[in-house]
């Protein structure tokens, strides 16, 4: 199921692969250690602080601040058609950081380090297979979520 995640997938399996199902349901999840409560994004199964392997997903608001960015002109395999595209690192309000491309609501020219942004879960509707990812959007952008307890 983790192969659902990303424009190109290199990692089909992971102990945190339920992340992709949550993303499909409109939820951005970090992980919280059940033993010491250490909370982090990107998700990880094994706590780097107390070594526990007992974790749960914790929903993130997706709010954060731009940490850095670059507009990529020379694209690697699988991204040629998208170039030029801008990637940014976002410092998340709930802890941890993520890297993603800018969505349609943000212009690379107006991007600045420290600026408030919103990370939004996405499903690629243009392809037959399930493809989920997230984009970086203007602060305040909203999106639809599946009802609570949706399983697929």
């Amino acid at each position: 199921m983790f192969s659902w995640f990303g424009q190109v997938s290199f990692v089909p399996f992971s102990k945190v692969m339920e992340f992709a199902r949550h993303l499909k349901n409109g939820r951005l999840m970090g992980t919280k250690c059940k033993s010491c409560s250490y909370t982090i994004f990107p998700p990880r199964a094994d706590c780097p602080e107390c070594m526990s392997g007992d974790f749960e997903f914790k929903e993130y608001s997706g709010k954060g601040k731009v940490f850095t960015y670059s507009t990529i002109a020379a694209a690697p395999t699988g991204f040629e058609a998208l170039a030029p595209y801008t990637v940014a690192v976002v410092e998340l309000d709930e802890g941890g950081r993520l890297l993603a491309m800018l969505g349609d609501t943000l212009d690379a020219a107006t991007l600045d380090i420290g600026m408030d942004v919103q990370v939004v879960p996405r499903i690629d509707e243009e392809v037959p297979q399930i493809k989920v990812y997230y984009t970086i959007e203007k602060a305040g952008v909203t999106w639809k979520k599946a009802p609570p307890h949706t399983v697929d």
């Binding site: 690697p76 890297l99 993603a100």
Partner: protein, 384 residues
């Protein structure tokens, strides 16, 4: 504590070497180093090969090179830490000598990169970063360093022109280095007109893939003194790591592994940054050299742009850096780079660098970075 010395050095031509296999490239550098040291293969106890496996069609390259050098049955092994593989080879050779296991160890850094087809290179470029959470969004190697450049500009006001001045310096010296891939100077106008790669970087901010090899021969203090009258001593070594993922770094204006490795190496060698007379640093991208000035303590944090503006890293400046052309001008055959840096420092400390000689060079340093600072090796060399 007994010392470990360098008794022989060799360096082949870097570039598109479609005339030679990787073991043939290795042999060019090996032959030069053996002749330089004036020793026979019976004197060699072991070899260490620094190379990154995924570029070669031949698997397990250390065994193939050991056979081609006619060094069987002496031990050999490969070290891999991305672009710092060559310095890792030097570190493990140093360790094996310090442990008393070997007396004379050949170190070869080598890489053949241009035999890969462009689609294979583009696919590899897409897996430079952490593949689970980052590469899935189309990151590239230049883009990672570009994100450091963006952050450095925001925090310290470093300009893209300052970054390109690093490239101009390195091309200026590379034009005087017969082993370099690009042996010509560049202008700011030409650099600013070059194609976009990953903002703020353009083509001239980036080093180029290349083929090549370099070799150094390390020996125990006793053997070095017996075998050579021009020994240069490896008196300080440091190595540190930082997160693979750019998401887990404390900041993106410095490579913490470089600062940590430098601290270790300075302490072991009993020197401070201002004692370094000539340095070879890992300028895979222009911002990387600016961060290296700062991480190594050649200037204050944030003053790297000013340091190149004032030409402090030119010969005649406070710390000449990459006066062989650096990765930018020599090309970057990744496994070979750390050993190539070492070749240059030994040559400088011997006083053999001709038109590029730094006056009174008695202490030299190499700074070799793997990836975006996942690994850094800093080595301090001294002549007696």
């Amino acid at each position: 504590m007994s010392r470990v010395g360098v008794i022989g050095i060799g360096h082949g031509r870097f570039g598109r070497r479609s005339d030679a296999t990787v073991q043939e490239l290795a042999f060019e550098a090996y032959r030069m180093a053996m002749q330089d040291a004036g020793i026979q293969r019976q004197d060699i106890d072991a070899s260490v090969i620094g190379a990154v496996p995924e570029y070669h069609k031949q698997r397990s390259i250390a065994g193939v090179i050991q056979e081609y050098l006619n060094l069987n049955p002496a031990p050999t092994w490969l070290t891999e830490v991305a672009c710092a593989s060559g310095s890792a080879a030097i570190r493990t050779a140093w360790m094996s000598i310090k442990a008393g296991l070997h007396d004379v160890v050949v170190v070869i850094g080598c890489q053949k990169m241009t035999e890969l087809a462009t689609p294979e290179i583009l696919a590899l470029m897409g897996r430079v970063g952490e593949v689970q959470w980052e590469s899935v969004f189309g990151t590239t190697f230049p883009a990672y360093y570009a994100m450091f450049a963006t952050a450095h500009t925001k925090q310290f006001g470093t300009t893209h022109e300052q970054m390109l001045k690093v490239a101009m310096k390195n091309h200026y010296y590379g034009a005087q280095n017969p082993n370099a891939l690009f042996q010509k100077e560049i202008t700011m106008e030409k650099a600013l007109a070059s194609e976009a790669v990953a903002s703020p970087f353009q083509v001239y901010d980036c080093c180029a893939n290349a083929d090549g090899a370099a070799c150094v021969i390390l020996a125990s203090e006793e053997k070095a003194k017996a075998m050579s009258d021009k020994v240069v001593w490896l008196d300080g070594i440091g190595c540190a790591t930082a997160s693979m993922s750019v998401l887990n770094r404390p900041n993106l204006v410095s490579l913490p592994s470089a600062a940590d490795a430098a601290k270790q190496a300075y302490k072991m060698a009993g020197i401070k940054a201002s004692d370094v007379k000539v340095a070879e640093v890992h300028d895979c991208f222009t911002i990387a050299e600016i961060m290296a000035y700062e991480d190594l303590g050649f200037c204050k944090k944030g003053d790297g742009g000013k340091f190149i503006d004032e030409k402090q890293s030119y010969i005649g400046g406070s710390t000449p850096v990459n006066v062989d052309g650096g990765l930018k001008s020599k090309g970057h055959p990744i496994g070979a780079t750390g050993v190539s840096m070492t070749y240059e420092i030994i040559s400088q400390l011997r006083g053999d660098s001709g038109v590029r000689q730094v006056p009174n060079a008695d202490i030299g340093l190499t700074h070799n970075v793997g990836g975006i600072g996942q690994y850094t090796f800093v080595h301090v060399y001294k002549r007696d």
